[in-house]
Symmetry: C2
Subunit: 218 residues, 2 copies
Amino acid sequence: KKEFAVIGLGRFGSNVALTLEKNGHAVLGIDENPEVIQQMAPLITQAVGLDATNENALRSVDIGSFHTVVIAIGSDFENNLMTTVTCKNLSVPNIICKALTIRQEEILLRIGADRVIRPEHEAGVRLAESLLAPSMLEYFSLGPDTDYRLAEFEVPSCIACQSLAQSDIRNRYGISVLVIKRGRDVVMNPPPEAILQPNDILVVLGHDKEIESFAQLN
Amino acid sequence: KKEFAVIGLGRFGSNVALTLEKNGHAVLGIDENPEVIQQMAPLITQAVGLDATNENALRSVDIGSFHTVVIAIGSDFENNLMTTVTCKNLSVPNIICKALTIRQEEILLRIGADRVIRPEHEAGVRLAESLLAPSMLEYFSLGPDTDYRLAEFEVPSCIACQSLAQSDIRNRYGISVLVIKRGRDVVMNPPPEAILQPNDILVVLGHDKEIESFAQLN
Ligand SMILES: Nc1ncnc2c1ncn2[C@@H]1O[C@H](COP(=O)(O)OP(=O)(O)OP(=O)(O)O)[C@@H](O)[C@H]1O
Ligand SMILES: Nc1ncnc2c1ncn2[C@@H]1O[C@H](COP(=O)(O)OP(=O)(O)OP(=O)(O)O)[C@@H](O)[C@H]1O
């Protein structure tokens, strides 16, 4: 099976297509705007101008032969919907859509989208979270059924130059230091006598609330 | 100092504002569209209708007293630019702007933005990366100066029911298993005899290339 097609080469769609191409995958890009096709044609494997709400046009590029189709049409929800329904009818196994609102997301999931992305909404939430805990450089949750997370911090200045044991992080915050990165070196399961130096990067494991308190240290 | 103001309450800006409010912070929201202000007024601490390119209007809400101002105006770059320059002149310490293109980002950084976000671009790259390694549930890099990363995977079926030692992950892939999560339980630094069960979540540390090979296992 061919891999990826992207319908709608706006900022979101074109970046999906370009990133896939950069990583060695052939992408079919579709857009009804000939200027967009002209711009994208030198940059992706195949760029075709057609109206994706037209089932015959989608058949003509054998859209059903693609494993994953990304439908990146934002501003015209009816176009987005029509295109999604058509791809579903043509048996595309994995359909990923952009949506602008949660109501649109619900509708798209109900009519056959496998996954829906709301770029502006997600970026707004992500920015707010980084403003709320600016010392937490990165993190991810260990799952939807748990409040454990892994998080990355620069060593807070108030514990720099202490040993891990002296800093007493586990007792004071309930979190565990899994990794210390210093420059290019990485120490896993650092021993209690390991000295925390300024600019070290710590990777810690703990519950959301514990990690949030630790994040307030800076 | 007051904390947060958001100028431009479109999808990106409104979600920044709402997430900050949900986490207990008072937000000043500014938008020139009275319908937007009417919608947002019940949801945030203060919603003011004004044209943010007007320096006197921004002075009237004491914008310089805010530590962080998010300028979430996308489609009119001149408005975005004017507002950014005005906030800079009024001594806002931390200015974060939305941009549509990398050229806009460069300009905004040069005229005083501390950070620039391109939501559609970043979402497109992020989606493509998740399509390229669908078994890698989450990850983060340990820094811009290293290719070490932490990543989260569901146990690949071909090694489920083996012990960590039998699976020989470290020798075969060069990556280290830091955490095994099973249901609600979390085991740090699992011993070699730990059995990997289907549905376990693994957190591993390794170089980008090693993690990418491990990601192909599913
Ligand atoms: N029926 C259609 N068939 C093919 N392409 C379409 C169709 N409708 C819209 N497009 C294309 O999809 C692209 C993105 O559409 P639109 O501008 O509506 O979305 P957007 O969400 O605002 O984009 P961005 O990703 O830049 O935020 C445009 O280049 C447009 O030409
Ligand atoms: N000069 C200005 N002063 C105050 N508000 C403004 C100004 N210019 C634009 N806005 C507001 O900013 C909001 C977002 O603007 P716009 O629609 O240009 O951005 P967008 O990037 O498309 O939004 P979204 O975040 O929904 O993707 C709108 O509600 C608009 O009224």
